[in-house]
């Protein structure tokens, strides 16, 4: 690739010493992107933008928030009532967190459907799982900060989980709390870590994008790019498409922020934390519900905790569980159906996570938990062996003309590396 010529002499002066402009030109104008990406590919850039929104709104809130058990709740109310536009920044931050998870969950399911986790993108996928875990830790600690009833009791329940670890469990919990229960030391350290982790996430996102650019994006057909006829430059095609997607996203976010700002929260968190009174139903925020359902499904405390962590852990080894050489579900008729069943399973677990742990809900939670692990540990490896995929198109450029002509070799073709 030839060096781009910049007309502006200041730009040239900087670029010669620190090639940021050449770098950006490379990434945007020359970076070849498959031309057939659909709107499910918007969610990666959307997640990045939501991360920036969360950091900016979070820093503003941090200018007014006090992380002390006697002042936290009241400082949040001061933000809502007295700080100029404080209510706006607070609602953006609280609802932005929910929207961050919506976007990331869709992004993940896109990866599951189109096989984006398969070779050579295994590390890209695993970095993504790391980002998800960091997001969950950040969100969990963030929710504690307003020091409402749900903040306090959610923190108590989840930190207590670690006591399930044999031998060292209790000591670990005391270490986490900094005391004998969730109290001021806990709140203070959660604040420090909640401010820190998003920047760790930024670092991992950078690695995630570097790993992505190594082989370029996957595409809806799941077959490799063969040449220039299959790709277009990222800018302006995907920049404008991402801008449009961002517009739609902002409409949805604004509808919630301005007209339904408390719809995704819990009324109990508008009650100041009271260690003497436990709310009738302790419920985590919606994005934790499937994992909460899995936790409660197992009657044993330790195994419940292990199952909950395993539910995320199993995502790490997905590239080695699903060994089908065909990436996209478009060409995997059985997997395609099982994908929707799996999605239904996840939605069911979300719904069950909010229900009280009694009656038929217990049985259903166990059923859907079992199916969750069945999908990953038994179904996917089995499909790798027994599923007969449809024949893949010859190339991205002409899938209609040559469709069906000669099944491509099962092994993924030599991946085209970027020079």
């Amino acid at each position: 690739m030839s060096e781009p010529k910049f007309n502006n002499s200041l730009v040239r002066w900087i670029d010669h010493r620190l090639p940021v402009f050449t770098f950006m030109h490379h990434e945007m104008h020359e970076y070849p992107t498959p031309k057939n990406l659909n709107y499910w590919w918007n969610f990666g850039s959307l997640a990045g933008i939501v991360l920036v929104i969360m950091i900016m709104s979070g820093i503003v809130l941090a200018m007014h928030y006090t992380a002390h058990v006697d002042h936290a709740f009241q400082s949040v109310e001061r933000i809502m009532r007295d700080v100029n536009y404080g209510w706006l920044v607070r609602y953006i931050h609280a609802n932005g967190a929910s929207f961050f998870f919506i976007v990331v969950y869709i992004h993940i399911f896109r990866g599951l459907y189109y096989g984006s986790y398969k070779a050579p993108r295994e590390l890209l996928w695993m970095l993504g799982v790391v980002i998800l875990i960091l997001m969950m830790a950040t969100a969990f600690m963030g929710y504690v900060l307003p020091w409402g009833q749900m903040s306090f009791w959610g923190a108590t329940v989840i930190t207590n989980l670690f006591s399930a670890i044999p031998l060292v469990g209790e000591s670990i919990v005391t270490l986490l709390w900094g005391g004998f229960s969730v109290d001021n030391p806990t709140l203070n350290r959660f604040y420090a870590l909640h401010y820190l982790l998003p920047f760790v996430i930024v670092g991992v996102v950078v690695l995630h994008i570097v790993a992505l650019h190594r082989f370029g994006s996957n595409n809806p057909l799941g077959i490799d790019v063969r040449g220039n006829q299959d790709t277009i430059s990222f800018h302006p095609y995907y920049t404008v498409k991402d801008a449009f997607g961002l517009g739609v996203f902002l409409i949805l976010l604004s509808a919630v922020v301005f007209f339904l700002p408390n719809s995704m929260g819990h009324p109990d968190n508008y009650i100041p934390a009271n260690p003497m009174v436990t709310p009738a139903h302790i419920v985590p925020e919606w994005y934790f519900l499937p994992f909460y359902a899995i936790l409660r499904a197992i009657p044993d405390k330790l195994f419940g905790v292990l199952a909950m962590f395993a539910a995320i852990g199993v995502l790490f080894i997905l590239p080695w569980l699903d060994r089908s050489p065909v990436r996209s579900a478009t060409f995997r008729p059985i997997y395609k159906v099982m994908f929707w069943v799996f999605l239904f399973d996840c939605v069911a677990l979300t719904w069950l996570g909010a229900k009280p742990a009694e009656g038929i809900y217990v049985l259903l939670s166990r059923l859907f938990t079992a199916y969750y692990f069945f999908h990953f540990l038994i179904l996917l490896p089995a499909l790798s062996i027994f599923e007969t995929p449809r024949s893949l198109p010859k190339s991205i450029g002409r899938p209609v003309l040559d469709g069906g002509g000669g099944a491509m070799a099962a092994a993924p073709a030599a991946t085209r590396e970027r020079s």
Partner: protein, 258 residues
């Protein structure tokens, strides 16, 4: 063709909102279904009715403030209800707040000024419990957001002190309420017909007082609601136009690829 895409886009937007909104039901209500009310502040274009807020404020002052604090509302906030600076000073002067220590090291009381928050009826929670048979009258500043059903629930509760149904037992010191979870509440019916006298001449029935004070508490919970909705309309209109422009740009740029 464009219509098809537009319709698809609209469908996506609609489904997304339908998915997001019912998240309200994730919480367990535990109580009887609360009848929906018509409030001037509901909906996208909702605003507070100043007359209603002033009547509700009157009910709070005369009835509720004896036991329930309003810690996050300051006298200066009453400007939202239509009072001017002088009137606010007069209202504040009726109350005493603790200040100090003075030069002798003692705490003292003085009359309230607009920048003070509403003085609580009890100095602390224990005193509040002692004065109410062990029950703690909660602070009302956030009551509309702190209960499932919001203002509808508060209205139902305050007007829900019905006759005890046959066969139902009510424990000593508790009172029957049709909408309180469990149907037994430690607070006796606070409202009575003509319990207060409204300055604007409105008849002060229990239901009228319940409605007015619920509206007042909705304001107390979120004084910035009107600004939020007004801004929301402007923002959404702008975003819809901007997204439309982006869409046309996108189609134009992609014309040679499709």
């Amino acid at each position: 063709m464009v219509l098809q895409r537009f319709a698809r886009g609209l469908l996506f937007l609609g489904v997304s909102l339908l998915v997001l909104i019912p998240n309200v039901s994730v919480k367990a209500a535990g109580g009887v279904a609360v009848p929906a009310q018509d409030w001037s502040f509901s909906g996208v274009f909702g605003t507070f009715d100043r007359g209603e807020l002033q009547r509700g404020f009157h009910v709070y002052k005369e009835v509720c403030a004896g036991c329930h604090s309003l810690n996050y509302v300051a006298f200066r906030n009453l400007g939202d209800l239509g009072f001017n600076d002088e009137e606010i000073k007069v209202i504040a002067k009726e109350y005493e707040v603790e200040d100090g220590p003075n030069n002798d090291g003692e705490m003292f009381t003085r009359t309230a000024i607009p920048s003070d928050t509403w003085p609580a009826p009890y100095p602390n929670d224990n005193a509040a419990r002692a004065g109410n048979n062990g029950a703690l009258p909660p602070d009302l500043s956030l009551m509309v957001d702190a209960r499932v059903g919001g203002a509808d629930y508060l209205y139902a509760l305050l007007s829900g002190y019905h006759e005890v149904p046959k066969g139902q037992e009510v424990a000593d010191g508790m009172y029957y309420n049709a909408y309180y979870p469990g149907n037994q509440i430690a607070m006796p019916s606070p409202l009575s017909d003509d319990g207060v006298e409204y300055g604007d001449g409105t008849k002060a029935t229990i239901n009228q007082q319940a409605r007015d004070v619920s509206a007042f508490l909705a304001w107390a919970t979120e004084p910035n609601m009107e600004q939020r909705k007004r801004m929301g309309v402007k923002v959404l209109i702008f975003l819809i136009v901007m997204t439309g422009l982006f869409y046309v740009s996108k189609r134009r740029i992609w014309a040679d690829v499709h």
